[in-house]
């Protein structure tokens, strides 16, 4: 048996919508098999992973908390990946955004003012954008591969944060724990609902998604991104500069990742500590692809991926399954998304060797 691909004359509109859904279903099936292999009842495990977290208010709040950074980062990444620019260092830009955004509440830890939060958010976004500017600069002026440089900078940023919270920024009254002082009340993103912890970071993420969707759909810049992404040559003929596009994509995605970083620290954590992200920057890559590189799709896929975090914690708690299950689900989902995308551009045929030989003969 072989698999043959035949190019479709046009993108299949049906499969453009259906492929993420098929991918999700395949992931659930593969997940069921995996749970069965490790000796857990698949139905019970899948219920605990995907359904149970949706049944109470507390975990719905947690879902929004986890979805906020994923959506915010992934929205920026969609613009990058659409224009064939590969920023995979969002995790580092997230970290630097959190650090730069925390400068004011760490150094002026007694200052309370309604201005404080806006200052932090702006500084966080600028921090993330500047950090993303490094791979952009290196790509534009030295022709350096942005995949490798943006990723190397992730490790550097995480080590820098580790140094800060164990060294100069350590809370002097904190019993030697590696963390900064707790932020004052006006440095904390307030809760959005009366029912729980979900904070305004989620609203910020929605706004970011809508704004980027509007830009991609209705502005010249959005058109430019799509043209350069499809063919650099066509872009050059249209007079679009790919160098400026590299700047634009990195600064935008880095800024959003930085904003996500400071929102996470000020909304969900309340101080800086050595580890501030369970891999949001990398998971956001999956979110972007599952959302079909469309900012509105990203909102949906961000919620789905947030569910994998909550579901992973839940099955760990209820069934005693390793929390590593989360990462496996995320990886499988990305695999299935990428394979199902083939259906959009190609007709896939399974050829059984016997029949193929007959065709040749006739």
């Amino acid at each position: 048996m072989r698999i043959e691909l035949e190019k479709r004359p046009d993108r299949s509109a049906v499969f453009a919508l259906a492929s993420p859904v098929i991918a999700f279903v395949l992931t659930v099936i593969a997940g069921a098999i995996m749970f069965a292999l490790i000796g857990k009842d698949p139905v019970e495990a899948l219920y605990g992973f995907f359904i149970q977290p949706l049944t109470d208010i507390w975990s719905l709040n947690e879902l929004m908390i986890k979805a906020a950074p994923l959506i915010m980062i992934a929205v920026g990444l969609t613009v990058c990946y659409r224009s064939n620019i590969w920023n995979i260092g969002a995790e580092g830009q997230f970290t630097v955004g959190a650090i730069i955004g925390s400068i004011v509440p760490v150094y002026f830890y007694q200052w309370e003012s309604p201005l404080l939060l806006p200052i932090m958010l702006v500084m966080g976004a600028i921090g993330g954008a500047l950090y993303a500017g490094i791979p952009a600069l290196l790509k534009n002026y030295f022709n350096t591969n942005e995949i490798l440089t943006s990723l190397m900078l992730v490790y550097a940023a995480q080590l820098f944060l580790d140094w800060l919270v164990r060294g100069p920024w350590r809370n002097p009254e904190g019993f030697n724990f590696p963390q900064t002082r707790e932020f004052v009340d006006s440095a904390v993103l307030p809760a959005m609902l009366s029912s729980g912890r979900a904070h305004y970071g989620f609203l910020l993420a929605m706004l970011a998604a809508l704004a980027v969707w509007f830009m991609m759909r209705f502005t010249l810049k959005g058109f430019e991104v799509n043209v350069i992404g499809q063919s650099q040559r066509a872009g050059r003929f249209a007079g679009f500069s790919s160098r400026r596009m590299v700047w634009f994509c990195f600064l935008l995605s880095g800024g959003l990742a930085g904003l996500a970083g400071i929102s996470e620290v000020s909304g969900a954590i309340g101080y800086l500590q050595p580890s501030i992200s369970p891999g949001y920057g990398f998971t956001a890559i999956i979110v972007a692809f599952l959302g079909r590189l469309n900012p509105l799709g990203v909102i949906v896929s961000g919620l789905v991926l947030a569910l994998t975090y909550i579901g992973g914690e839940n099955v760990q708690f209820v069934l005693g399954v390793s929390d590593k299950v989360t990462r496996v689900f995320q990886g499988m989902l990305l695999f299935f998304v990428l394979s199902c995308d083939t259906l959009i551009l190609y007709k896939v045929r399974l050829i059984f060797s016997g029949r193929h030989a007959e065709e040749k003969a006739s």
């Binding site: 190019k7 190397m152 080590l159 820098f160 060294g167 990398f282 890559i285 990305l334």
Partner: protein, 305 residues
Amino acid sequence: MIVEAILLTVITASTPLVLAAIGELVCERAGVLNLGVEGMMVMGAVGAFITAQLTGSPYIGIIGGLLTGMVFSLLFGFLTLTLVANQVATGLALTILGQGLSAMIGEGYVGKGGIKMPSLDIPLLSDIPVIGPLLFDQDFFFYLSIALVAGTAWFLFKTRGGLVLRSVGDNHASAHALGINVIGIRYLAVMFGGACAGLAGAQLSLVYTPQWSENMAAGRGWIALALVVFASWRPWGVLIGGYLFGAVTIGQLHAQAFGIAIPAQFLSALPYVVTVIVLVIISRNRRMTLINTPAALGKPFVPDR
């Protein structure tokens, strides 16, 4: 002798980088960019550790690591070669899945003492002062890495098979027109890359730190990718680059041990920062990189029917 001890650790730190990079080099010479080296490496590490534990033999462990890496790379091959999925995204997927899967599989083995790989000394030669113990009293992986670099250099540039492989990476349309099975050769190259990354992982969990811990590749897979660029896709360059980076890694560890006044985190960041700097220096020479980069690198191939 302290210098000798330092050089020994440099060799141990460099070997996994050389192994993973030489596999990726062959893969890229065939036109396939596999960013999943990090994922294949951790899978190889956990596969090798568990097979060594179960069988009690580090040598069967090596085979376990090799096979795990190779089988895992087939996932990448199926998506990018058969289903023509985007190579960059699929490579990332391989890394994400590998990190999760290896952590899950290896969870019960965390903290267990590993089986130390014995060193193989070559009689007579290992008695030579200084270079004897360094070059002729090493573990299996060291000899293997040198042999693989030499073998790859010979295969790529001195054999017909190597010519075919390079032609597939430089112009898949012409190669296809000449009757070469482009997809088949790319599958073989991807599997070779997976096997080498698996071996590199096995070296980590059997020799470098004989135990299993989550994410023990710690970015080495990505450094191996950078090494291929550093080497301008030439095998001996991988060897030189691997030892340069091994030296940086060990240098920062020794600097920490000596209590140098620079914070430990800054020293730990050094290998990553050096990678960026080296990439900048190499890539600046646009003409040079253009000549050596396989022309079809990262471009999918769908044969007409």
